[in-house]
Symmetry: C2
Subunit: 117 residues, 2 copies
């Protein structure tokens, strides 16, 4: 269980614009029945999570997620913070996610929170 | 779902030194099969959570938890931050918890994280 590696893999999925590559990354990273929820959206299963991320990308063209601080974790939990910024560097959102890691190392669930503006 | 109320009730349990009062608060606040886990300890069920909190209190006599910032939440999730301080005000730890709220309003799970010193 390597929180930094998990957070990097996870944010790379949100930044991956190639549909086939992103779908393969999701299959490697999430359990079959994984669920994601934050204040703005939710998705379940590989198809549901992929559709959710594709939708978010279409709302934020050219934007990228970057890691803030150092991910940490304990037991089957990982915590990390992130910022979403436009191509010109303007930050549009930041938040913190808590992921639960399944026995096979893939993510069983991700609960996302947005930081106050 | 009132994140501030939930966080207040929750931290009051950790601060309650009267065993019978604390046990009654736990029964009101946690689901029967609730589970708690952080980097230092874990507990499950009303008895397990009560024993865990009693143990923590015995390690930190006279200390109190106070809320930091403003709790937030969405869907069935609540997030809040806290500080543990000695009676003289000296801070000994701080952290952030994410709780899942069951359909009846009680806490089904709490995942705790400690902030870096």
């Amino acid at each position: 269980m390597n929180p930094a590696h998990i957070a990097d893999q996870y944010l790379a999925i949100w930044n991956e614009r190639d549909a086939a590559t992103r779908r393969a990354m999701i299959a490697r990273t999430f359990s079959l029945d994984a669920c994601y929820v934050d204040p703005m959206m939710r998705g379940a299963g590989h198809d549901g999570i992929d559709a959710m991320i594709a939708g978010a990308q279409s709302h934020f063209p050219g934007h990228r997620f970057t890691l803030d601080g150092t991910p940490d974790g304990h037991n089957d939990l990982v915590r990390f913070s992130w910022t979403l910024a436009a191509a010109d560097g303007q930050r549009v959102a930041s938040g913190m996610d808590v992921a639960t890691v399944a026995a096979d190392g893939r993510l069983a669930s991700v609960n996302g929170f947005l930081n106050a503006a």
